[in-house]
């Protein structure tokens, strides 16, 4: 039994190399980010107080912000809500024929993944998820090879906003300005692997073992529903896409009363299955226990966020405006020139 020591191809992906965590390390990282973010917010508010003419309101402002700081959990919930809206936007862009049908799934999944990766290194105090989500979506259309022009990209948003508020709020710059920030936070690693392809592969492979073809097809279509659910969870940081796909397949099979265990036992060695089953259990539980954040809850968190945003990064704050003005006055120095 000669064992070769070559790496597998999937182990060479940046997703495998840099974006795998344990659920504990995820929680730790989020808590640490949150703590640092809060410090930055308070620091920014103090700086802004100096910029202000000191009319006495700044003390109350800081006190109000400290009362409304978000916990790491609230951050995740807020992000989760905006991830749900990605699904709506995908539908809108599909209707406008800006996205092709076979690309829509990947664009959506990549966008969701970018947002999740972005907030592993950033906090909502600095960058509110509403615009980050749009930037990630815009970036995902490029990454998944179905580029939408920025004017086309903005148009459905603007029409929706005009309908609701009477005027368009989102401008081209809002999205484009953040694009580099996002790519930087993604560590310039833009290739994401989703469970869609493995699920398709399983569907083809199972055809040899499961006789009821129409039912299998129904199960496969149902699998997409569960894969969509899995995108919102942290599973992508914990398990391989093929494992998530199989977990979703098992859930779908349970819905449709199809037993796919014969396929698994026939295809794979039993002792390998032993480890796989515990993984699949985890995945199935994570998918079925995920509850989307309700709009009311999101609104409540959003209202708190308005009060505790970091003024240093908020284009509407006085501090930001002053800094921007200072920067314009300063002569431009290229990085390569300064020695």
């Amino acid at each position: 039994m000669a064992t070769t020591h070559k790496p597998q191809l999937y182990q060479q992906t940046s997703q495998y190399r840099d974006w795998r965590f344990t659920s504990e390390s995820l929680a730790q990282q989020r808590a640490a980010n949150n703590k640092q973010g809060i410090e930055r917010v308070l620091q920014g508010l103090r700086e802004e107080a100096q910029v202000d003419d000191g009319s006495g309101t700044s003390e109350a402002r800081i006190a109000e912000a400290t009362k409304n700081l978000l916990t790491p959990n609230e951050e995740v919930e807020l992000i989760d809500y905006y991830l749900q809206t990605i699904l709506t936007y995908t539908r809108i862009y599909r209707k406008e024929n800006l996205l092709k049908a076979d690309a829509a799934n990947n664009v959506k999944a990549t966008a969701i993944n970018f947002v999740k990766r972005f907030y592993l290194h950033n906090v909502v105090f600095d960058y509110p998820p509403k615009t980050i989500m749009l930037t990630c979506f815009y970036l995902a259309t490029k990454v998944e090879n179905s580029f939408v022009k920025i004017d086309d990209f903005i148009r459905p948003l603007a029409t929706a906003e005009i309908k609701r508020n009477g005027k368009a709020l989102t401008k081209n710059e809002d999205i484009l300005d953040l694009e580099f920030v996002v790519i930087q936070s993604l560590q310039f690693e833009l290739a994401v692997h989703h469970p869609f392809r493995p699920a398709y592969g399983f569907y083809l492979d199972m055809q040899a073992y499961i006789d009821n073809k129409p039912l299998l097809k129904e199960v496969y279509e149902r699998t997409h529903h569960y894969i969509d659910q899995s995108l919102y969870t942290d599973l992508v940081f914990l398990y391989q896409p093929s494992q998530i796909a199989l977990g979703a397949f098992k859930l779908a099979a349970k819905d449709k009363d199809l037993d796919i265990d014969p396929y698994l036992t026939e295809c794979f060695e039993a002792r390998l299955l032993e480890t796989l089953y515990t993984i699949l259990d985890d995945i199935q539980e994570a998918i079925s226990s995920h509850k989307p954040t309700t709009i009311d809850k999101a609104r409540e968190i959003d209202r708190k966020l308005i009060l505790c945003r970091n003024p240093e990064k908020n284009p509407n704050s006085k501090l930001y405006k002053k800094k921007a003005a200072n920067q314009e006055d300063a002569p431009y120095v290229s990085d390569s020139d300064s020695e």
Binding site: A2, T3, T4, F21, Y203, L204, L246, T275, L276
Partner: protein
Amino acid sequence: MSILASAKKQDISAYTTKEDSCPQCQRMRYFNERMMLLVGPCYHRMCELCLDNTFSAGPAPCPECQRILRKNEFYQPIFEDLTVEREVRVRARMAAAYNKRQEDFKSLKDYNDYLEMVEDLTMKLLYEEDIDQTDSIIEKYKRENNAQIERNMSKRQREEKIQRMVLDQEKNKKQQLREEYLRQLEDEKREKVEAKNNIINALATSDKSAKEILKARAVQLKKSSLSNRNAGRKAQLELEALLKSATEGFYDDDDDIDIEEIDDGPFDPAESPYEPVVVKLREKYDDPTPAFRQGNLAAAGVTREMHQRYLIEGAMAGLFEPPFSDSAKSPSNMDTSAS
């Protein structure tokens, strides 16, 4: 599984001796070969006839301890000593309720404390101290941890199923190898007989000299028996290796094989640097992608087979990858003893 499960499946027969007698009616096995001695929840013996007599009109007190019993609570004991019988049953009952595993606990100490607590309760039941109180504790625990108990139980059942499958697979493999070996032996024997007959025929019919014919045949015979013997030898070796691995247990680690000893064959400069994903493709799939349904090309140089191989390889890639753990990242094989 346990003794009780085997007894239920009648793999283990009830304990009987020639000298058995019913403590109620004093009937002896000497007179009735098929007499059944049964035991109730109070661990007092009774023969089948007494049982029918005592409980013919519903629940009745046990003749020895006056506890109210029912007929369907009686069963055939497996052990000679009824205290052993009782302990086995009490422990089975406890194990069904207290089935937490080590991975359910944060630390080893918690797990050990839990085990000690369970053992204390078991002992109380066995020595009949505070039975009512202990029972109520157990019932309460069962109610509170219902979900987890069920989950662990199904986990356990599946593990047992997989263990059985591993054994079955190994047994089948062994059987196949054995059949192969026997077939080869038979083939060799038949060939020898055939060769002998051929020589006699050739000597009888051809007009070459006898010496020439014998020489040609001898060379041929030597060749064929040599190749056969090699094949037989190989099968024998495989059989031995399999037997060895089976006796070594399920998890034989080949890690301590010296890497240099493995012969990877001749050097191939065009070899893929990655481990290939082994997939078996079928002739035809029901492929939902319309572009590949007719077997024409969807893009330059991409055939349907390539597309399907790509999908199925995607499904198999990393399927058995264990979840990421922090310890896997840190170098575990650092040689500290060398310093």
